[in-house]
Structures are given as structure tokens and as C-alpha cells.
Symmetry: C2
Subunit: 399 residues, 2 copies
């Protein structure tokens, strides 16, 4: 009989969002007429920009004509037209990343999870807590030791390295999911210096960079030293509403390498390429056409409108919390508002109260790690009217 990967048995039984869905479904069954407003899972609601839809349709049409039909991509790492568009996008905020350092994928989650394949299981993995569950779970699946850097009220939910602790792999997410806090250049420099001292690699999740409004880095590669120690993952999910379209990108600097136990220098890009060559066949051509259109002048313009729409929601949420005197972070450089549950309530306790009394669904902070207990995440990705309605209900609740 095949043995299973027993590390799976040590994982939390259910994925956070599956748990939430179960609770919401149970509530709906018991209260079929309830008008539930979802501000839980970080999913967008605004439609895809017209020029992006048109580009996808043009790509689909090309697939229907022999002369323009596309089969397997030669490289499986993305078409040049899209890699060049992503490179140009980085340039637009002052970061130089060459097209051949960019790999197109079907969303940041897959690469974020699959990157564990290329590293040894003896690595010490440092993850800020609270964090997106994928970082922790995918490392636990490989039986790795995970240590945590606390993000908490004291440090404004911006964990910084503890110089007395060693790590080999470091996961950072900025603007942060779930806390909405975002690192400044000087904070990132501290992390980079720590990584270089430890010869560690930073896996940097920049999925929310498009929401940055202040003068802080939109890419870790905006900060000196990052090319020697970092991989960056980003996605069009939140930038351009691609959660159902599925396209993202990973940047691996050419010079990033490690020394194997036999003394050979191994390029991280080559190693990841070998992994992907055996387990991935590239992103759908029409999806890549759509993604490239996001980075066109018209695409960026239309996309920015959607982001402004969500930012307005964030202001509505923030204003309501200010009115209630509830403490929170995020909302400014992020679509997430991370609030302290009133009256010392626990995260799931507050989840139930909000669901039962206001029919509003949010995400319990405890689902993101121990420092999330007592905190709660709301997203600004909803419909504007529904967000206003949710915050009106919120304000009427008795705490």
C-alpha cells in the first residue's frame, strides 16, 4: 500500500476559507432569507476592463484559425509579449527587471506554494505571523521547521527580523495580507540586510502592490541588495480583477544562486525552470493576451479606475471604524482593513456575532496565525453600495 505524505496529517484539517464557507452555508440554510454581505475572502467584484476582455477574445479568435493557432508554448514560461509588458510595468515605477527574469504563471498562489519543491526540507523557514495560510501550510506539507516573526499591535503589524535568530527562507508579504500594513524602504532594507547576513532567500509576495498610495516600495527590487537575496511573486488577481482569469508572474533575478552540498553553484532560476519543465505547461494563450492588455495604456487606465473604486470602499470602512472608535491598520496602501475585535472578543466569536447580528461575513484574524487572535479582516473588494450597507449595519450593532 502506498504510504501517504504524513505531514498532511499535521495540518489544520480545513483550509480557513473552506471553514468560513461552511459556517456561512450553515447560517444560510437556517436563515434562507438573510441578506448576507461578504467581506471575507479577498475576492474582487468589479468586472474585467473592456480592453482586456477584447484582447482575450482576439486571442481566442486566433486559436480558431490555423495560421494563428498556438499550441504548447516553447518555453512554458510565458510569451515574450507578456514578459515585456510586465518588465515595462516594473519600469513604470522605477524598477529594472528584465523580461527573461519574469515567469508567467496561473496566479501567485501556485508559484508561492510550489516553490517549496526546489529547496531542501532541512531549511529553517521564517514567516511573519499573521500570514496568508499558503506560506505555512505548503512548508508544513514538506515537513519543514517553520519559525515566526510576530506582527502585532506593538510593531504596527510590521514584523522585523530578530538578529539572534537564523533563517534560510523568509516569507514577506507587503502590502500585507491580512493586516494591510506595508513596509517602508528602510524596513525592507533591514530585512534584506538580515537575509544577506544569513545568506537566506526572501520569498516576497507583492500581490497587493497596486494598492500602494504612499511613497513606499511597490517591489522588493526597488531596494538595494534585493537582487542577491529575493524572489518576487505578483499577480493580476487584485491589480486587474483576475481572480477568475488566473494569471500572475514570478521574478527571479539571474544572479540569485545557492551553493549545493557538493560545492556547485546552483542558479535558483535554473532550478525552478527544471521544476516547472516537469510540472507546468504554461498559461492559456488567450489569458496571456488578456494579461498583456492590462499593461497597455488603456488597460492601466481602466484598471486604476477599479482600484480607486475599492480604495473608496476602504475609506467607507475606515470612517465607520473611526466613528465607532475601533482600532485598525490597513486600508491606506491595501484593500484590507485589519481591526481589533471590540471588547476583547476572540476572532471567531466576533465572526459569529457579525454573521448573526449584521449578516456580514469577514475573516477571523486567528485563521492567519496566533497574532491574529482578537483581530479581524474586512476587505474593500465589495460592491460600493453593499459596503456602505455593511458598515451601516456594523454601526448599529451592540458591542
Amino acid at each position: 500500500m502506498p504510504s501517504i505524505n504524513e505531514n498532511f496529517l499535521k495540518l489544520e484539517k480545513n483550509y480557513l476559507f473552506i471553514n468560513i464557507a461552511k459556517k456561512v452555508n450553515a447560517y444560510k440554510e437556517a436563515n434562507p432569507d438573510a441578506d448576507i454581505i461578504r467581506m471575507g475572502i479577498g475576492d474582487v467584484t468589479q468586472p474585467i476592463a473592456k480592453c482586456v476582455v477584447d484582447a482575450m477574445k482576439k486571442g481566442a479568435d486566433e486559436m480558431g484559425v490555423k495560421e494563428t493557432f498556438k499550441g504548447y508554448e516553447d518555453s512554458g514560461t510565458g510569451y515574450d509579449f507578456l514578459k515585456e509588458a510586465v518588465s515595462g510595468y516594473y519600469n513604470s515605477f522605477g524598477v529594472t527587471v528584465s523580461p527573461d527574469e519574469i515567469r508567467i504563471n496561473d496566479g501567485a498562489k501556485a508559484d508561492c506554494g510550489n516553490i517549496v519543491d526546489i529547496f531542501g526540507d532541512d531549511n529553517v523557514v521564517l514567516i511573519t505571523d499573521p500570514a496568508y495560510p499558503v506560506y505555512v501550510d505548503t512548508n508544513l506539507m514538506n515537513g519543514r521547521t517553520v519559525i515566526y516573526a510576530d506582527s502585532n499591535e506593538e510593531n504596527g503589524f510590521a514584523a522585523m527580523p530578530d538578529e539572534s535568530v537564523h533563517a534560510d527562507l523568509i516569507y514577506l508579504c507587503s502590502p500585507n495580507n491580512p493586516t494591510g500594513s506595508a513596509y517602508t524602504a528602510s524596513q525592507l532594507k533591514t530585512w534584506i540586510d538580515y537575509a544577506l547576513k544569513n545568506k537566506a532567500i526572501i520569498i516576497y509576495d507583492a500581490a497587493y502592490e497596486a494598492f500602494i498610495t504612499e511613497d513606499i516600495p511597490r517591489s522588493i527590487f526597488a531596494v538595494e541588495g534585493a537582487r542577491q537575496c529575493a524572489i518576487e511573486m505578483c499577480s493580476l488577481s487584485k491589480t486587474a480583477g483576475f481572480t477568475g482569469m488566473r494569471c500572475g508572474y514570478t521574478v527571479i533575478p539571474k544572479e540569485l544562486s545557492v551553493i549545493a552540498s557538493n560545492g556547485t553553484e546552483v542558479s535558483i532560476s535554473d532550478l525552478w525552470g527544471r521544476r516547472e519543465g516537469s510540472k507546468f505547461n504554461g498559461v492559456s494563450y488567450p489569458v496571456q493576451c488578456a494579461a498583456a492588455a492590462v499593461f497597455s495604456e488603456e488597460g492601466l487606465k481602466q484598471t486604476k479606475e477599479n482600484i480607486k473604486y475599492y480604495q473608496q470602499n476602504a475609506k467607507v470602512i475606515s470612517a465607520a471604524l473611526d466613528e465607532l472608535g475601533i482600532k485598525y491598520t490597513g486600508g491606506k496602501n491595501s484593500p484590507y482593513i485589519w481591526l481589533k475585535c471590540p471588547n476583547g472578543m476572540g476572532s471567531w466569536e466576533f465572526f459569529d456575532k457579525l454573521l448573526n447580528e449584521a449578516n456580514v461575513v469577514g475573516t477571523p484574524g486567528a485563521g492567519f496565525g496566533k497574532n491574529g487572535e482578537g483581530w479581524f479582516r474586512l476587505t474593500a473588494f465589495g460592491d460600493a453600495e453593499r459596503t456602505k450597507e455593511a458598515m451601516e449595519r456594523f454601526k448599529k450593532m451592540k458591542f
Copy 2:
């Protein structure tokens, strides 16, 4: 410094098709005017059926309208409309698979490679040789022991189990890539009985099932006992020209389970679901719309036309080889023709000769395993005129 997964260092340096691409590119650089005909990588050339393109465009349009916009899929395992269509397709050839046993993916390669994650690294993995390199490489990446069942001239390239050998995981591909041979129901029953006796799990790759013309199983689930020991992976790549569209499906029977070391019964479907929940976010909605259209009446009709086109190519290739007295398998239930290199030539020797003298690219059998040495794969996926031209050149070669 992070340690790498050192198993990667034990892999062949380059993936087979990357090696071929390098050789072809070098030849093209030296001979810029050469008119090269590609019959190497198993990529299709006929465009996507019109009704499938239309369905994708409709899906794209829906993404551009708020009321019909789709974000994350709730389950990430595929929309019901597509799972029901796949289930109906199975029914059409007499196999019962329920929609909730079907998981939609971005192509069989990803699931085929990623399935290794859920099993322990101490498993003995049995792979028929020659084989699609993904089976071997993805297991070697996890440091597993791989043993082989020989497919060779003596057994008509249809390896059968050796009852004296134990295995925990078994990879079968029928119709086979690269040899084009296909198992009969009775041969599959022998494999299933062997798997049940060993309490092993069969990972069955049915990617070429649409090419079956004889009365043999199109799914392992057509054979009794398979639900207790098999997972099936299939893809629209070869069925409907989806190599650049990216959509496939994996079938995991509900009752398939193993006993973990702590004595608990673990469902394979749950285990895989946990893996995918952390590392995958579903397939692009418009791609799923396109895939569902493949299984509509019109879609199946248009798709069958393409398959007939390729089957005609297979006849052209077979006829030329018959004329030359070259031995081969495949072509009948498969788009692949697996030929014995003339005059005892080695696979790569014949590759070079065919490239240099006829400007035809094929795939050296040695790239698929030791039993492939001295054999060579041609694909029927090309343009009809070009396939004829290739075989005319082939016939003019001096062996």
C-alpha cells in the same frame, strides 16, 4: 543559506524536448534556409473548433460585466457545468464517473507531476519503460525509488506486471506515449489485479483516449476493480487541440483510500483536495467555458473531424514505413508511430540523420527510457501536406 532539494542534481540536466529544441535551433542557425518539418514534440496543429472559440469569447464577455463576472471559484476544482459535461462524456463510452469525482485542472501534466506531493517518499514507484519523462522526473525530484516494467519489441511495447516484484504506485499510460501501443481490457485487468494484490495505486494517464479506434477501454474505470485502485488523468490537449488553451481533468473515485501509519483511513480525494487547496486556484473561467463546449454535440462533432485528420496522417506515416519495411507500433489507437531505427542505428544517431538529411524532426526513443534506445517516435499531429512531404523525404533517404 537555504539548502536546495538535492534530488534535482540527480536528474538528467535537460528535459528531452529542450534538448531537441537546442539541436534544431543549432541546425537552423547553420542552415537558415532549411525547410524543417516538425514531427517531434506531440503538439497539435489544427485550430480549435469554432463552437469552442465562441464559448470562450462568451465567457470572456461575461467577465466584463458586473452581473456575470466570476472571481475565485468556490471549490477551485472546476465549475459544475464542466464537471457534468466531463461526466457525460465518460457516460458516452459506458463509464460511470460522478461529477464530484472529477477535478478540473490546467492540463494533465500539472496533476501528473503534482500528485507526488500527497504520497510518502518511501514508496516504490513502478513505471513502464519507455515512458513520458514527467512520471520518472517528478518522482526522482522527491527522492523516490523508481523501478521499471519493460515495454519492448518482445511484448509489443505493452509491459505487464512481474508478480514477483512489489510496487506501491504504478504509472500506466494507454494509449501509450511514446509507443502508441494500447492496453486491452484483459491486460488492464491483469494490472488492476496486480495493484489490488499489492494494495498499490495506479496513476492512469488517458490523455490519448480519443484516438482509440478498436474495441479497447478508453478509461481504466471501464475495467472492474479500477475504482478500488486507480486515479485517472486526462486532458483536452490532444482531444480538442487544447495544448495552448490548457485544460484537463483528474478522476479520483470516492472510495479510494489508504491507511496512514496511525491507522486512520485517509481518502485520496481529500488528501489531493488539501494539496490543491493550498497550491492551486482553479482554471480560468473562459477556458472552462471553452472546455465545456468541447463536450457539446457540436463540439464533439467538430473535434472528431480534427482527430480523423490526424488519423489520416498516421495512415500516411504507417504506409511509408510499410513500404520501407521498417517495423513500428502505434498509429492505430494513437497519434504516435513508434518505429525501429533502421540498420540498428541508435535513437539520437537516427535523430541527427533525419534532421540532417530530410530536415524532419522526430523524438529519439532513448529520451523516454532505456527500452526506447534504437526506437524513434513520429507524431501524426502535423499538417497533412507537410506530413506527406516528410514521408516522401523519408522514403528518399538512404539507410
